[in-house]
Symmetry: D2
Subunit: 284 residues, 4 copies
């Protein structure tokens, strides 16, 4: 089975060696290793993707977490095959509710075979949707919407989340969080076509360029400064001349974005695509 191991700690001395030693002694096949050393913060991270015999999985989880405890590292072991029938999603939101709502409806209607384990917001705007669908809601932001992202990670762990879905969650995840859930577990909806319109106002920028085609992009977040956009799905719509920006945004937010997120999440949870060496590839 494919197993993803992530480790995050304050420096690389004593991080890579014990984990790699353990894995090589286990006789696992190493499919991918990536390491990362942040230059501004004391943050060292590693991703291992390995092939393991099914019966070794539980013991490996235990042993690696024990290494984490001993070495004071944040270690996670996860396999996309463990819960492939019903992966557990955390749906993270800020103001816009349409994409989250579309995703919850798609799950309810059996269009997407997943479980909405928890909803997390840095604002209260989408709390009503969580109530409507009877899903646990956690507000993690303060009055200004500022987030202590360690709290987010605690929630993700507590709810045993397989995938983190950023459904118009308008905060940048810090590198540490990206690494904790590295390996194709964080799915973001961006409200513009990537890589052309990466900013926070993609509708405005495309409109200022007088484009007639607008789009949204569903992609994995990869914790590398220079990593490109790991696109899972993109959808577009075309407008007539003279349409006002407000109307364009409305079309995008109410129709195109929700549809884009639903299809993107479907592709991931049904195992059609996976992250492989910073690229999204079709899973054979």
């Amino acid at each position: 089975m494919q197993v993803v191991i992530t480790a995050v700690g304050p420096d690389h001395v004593g991080l890579a060696d014990p984990i790699i030693h353990y894995v090589t002694n286990l006789g696992a096949n190493i499919a991918e290793i990536q390491m990362y050393d942040h230059d501004e913060e004391a943050l060292f991270a590693m991703l291992l993707r390995i092939e393991l015999a099914d019966e070794q999985y539980e013991a490996a989880c235990e042993a690696l977490k024990e290494i984490g405890r001993l070495k004071k590292l944040s270690v996670r072991v996860w396999s996309p095959q463990k819960r492939s029938q019903k992966p557990r999603l955390a749906i993270c939101v800020t103001y816009r509710s349409e994409p989250a709502l579309a995703l919850l409806r798609a799950i309810r209607d059996g269009q997407i075979s997943a479980e909405a384990a928890v909803m997390i917001g840095n604002r209260d705007a989408c709390r009503g949707i969580a109530e409507q669908f009877n899903i646990d809601w956690h507000r993690i932001g303060d009055k200004q919407g500022q987030v202590d992202h360690r709290q987010m990670v605690q929630l993700l762990d507590q709810y045993e989340v397989d995938y983190v879905v950023l459904a118009r969650y308008m905060r940048v995840l810090p590198p540490a969080v990206c690494w904790e859930y590295a390996g194709g577990r964080i799915i973001n909806l961006h409200h513009g076509l990537l890589p052309s319109f990466p900013g926070i106002r993609p509708y405005h920028e495309a409109y200022a360029s007088r484009m007639l085609t607008y789009g949204a992009t569903c992609h994995f977040i990869v914790p590398e400064l220079d990593a490109g956009n790991q696109i899972i799905y993109q959808s577009t719509f075309t407008i007539p001349h003279g349409m006002k920006l407000d109307e364009v945004i409305r079309l995008g937010q109410e129709d195109n974005e929700p549809q884009c997120l639903v299809e993107g999440v479907r592709r991931v949870v049904e195992g059609e695509v996976q992250l492989h060496f910073h690229r999204v590839v079709a899973r054979k």
Copy 2:
């Protein structure tokens, strides 16, 4: 009626004054004036868009062309309303035949109300299509495909062309040609989404960015160094993961590009859109 006057000459001394004098004395309303002075070549150009009483049109044409003869300027007078039932098109090509073919079929089938007045190629690759549709064909390129663009302008004048359609014509029009036919008369098909992928290999660039959405753009060519893309129509298609670049290009060239050009030309010749101060606007 709306009348577009263009004038091109080697310098601005004595270019603007006589034409503007004539037009103001005529009592015409001036809707737009743009001037241009190339800094590397001796090339001065002016565009006037005016409102004229219908009965003044013929006399104004004569008088302005006479000014051109006297002052050694290249002067053109044109009105989109003169031949609005059946505008005459020049279809310019290089290698790819699909967009031109789709356009000719759309004209034949009455989908676009225009007349294919002439086909112009800098290569011979599309000659057969001209023969098939019984349209005059002119090859203007030498063995390397290099073009004397004055010859192109002569042909455009000789065939009394209203609109110049660059149907995957793979040469850059020099500024002088753009000015001779300024005012929304040159329609280009670009095989990528503008403004994101402006280069000569937009499929390759979008593919290298791992995009899943590809597009084509039909736009006016505006003879300003810094002018943005004057988009008439854009169309897109989405591919699955793992599709080879060859296949993407094939889909784009054989399906998306022809459709994009046909719809773009239709919008122009049916008067749905027009160029107005460097912008494409819906014609009221």
Copy 3:
């Protein structure tokens, strides 16, 4: 003499015609006309650059302003040759004082032959400098620094300003203001290399790109949506590896930016460069 006429009004009906009529009847040579029609606001603008006999200047000023009064247009007539010995500057600021201070010192020390006619701030941060150099100070911003730019134009007119110097004035001038003072009269200091780093955080962006070279750009502001940067002067500095961003910004703000602005303003007020068809050219 070279004369620049600008006119701004709510629509083009009746704007261009009377001014162009007057100018052509005057027998002036027209060197440049540019027109502009804003698509979101009711804003129409025109720039004329003409050659006029010196003795006609005063009468033309009067007549054109009278046309403005009659037609309810905002009309300005200006010549760079009228006050070429001691052009009058408005120095506009927000927080950073270093560029303004360097400019005032250069004027005091005779390095730049100009007069600091007025200082305008949307914040109070630089008021002390105005007092120190005994220059009239006007605060035009509210508590949030928001500006009524009509008030700015009134001040510029009242102080008979030749050039507007934006010395780290951190507000975007609306198109109407740019047109009122079009023709190479608005000089901006941008704290990054243009066109590569156009945003509001150019140091951060260049730093994130791990550049070792940082720069500043002094340029004319041109009131066209698509106009490129009209660069008057650029200066750069190179840093060693490992320098913190704070230190880079400090070097740039305290040393490179002030020097860049002083040299740029010097080039303009001493007539070394001018704006000519959207380009900065050396004045012969």
Copy 4:
């Protein structure tokens, strides 16, 4: 001592495991691992940076090369400390001779403490310089300048090269070559400011943008599709208005580029900077 191990092979099955096993059994500290899987070619690569006791180095070289022979991998072991007094350079060229010439003079005059081990060209244009400085010359390009880059790697190995200096070598190194010499051993001179002007005609592009500042960039080449530019040194020069492009290019090629390359190479061979997790950092 710091040791860099690179391995390149046709797939990852059996590549990572034996090398990582060997290194972990050796008791070496792992400082960095990066892996790469090309999606278009069958190309798998790995970089390990480890800390090793000095006395283990020779044995580790032997053992790892033996693993390479057995597993049919291309394995290289290298340490920047092995020949730190006089690193051996391969200087690769195409047409322009100035940067190579400046580098050879700096070596001759003791400004740079390195040895020019070999000159490699895909054209013959710079052969005379190799003869003048009595350095072995190898032409690796055919009549069109096309290169079999395996031949280049053979030469680099044969001459026991520490650093590969691309002194205006106008070919793109294929990923395999970049990986063989990964870890901060390939130094490129780019004739524009990175990341703003990355193309093959940076002077033309900056000139078309009407910049007054031009630059050159000395950087490591890193074999990642999405890696940013690993800048070692940048230098710039400023031009007056009206300077012709030819003259700008001449200034850049004859003065700025050579100086940029010499300073960049000096920083590397004297150990002032090194590559560390895709970043250039000051070596402590």
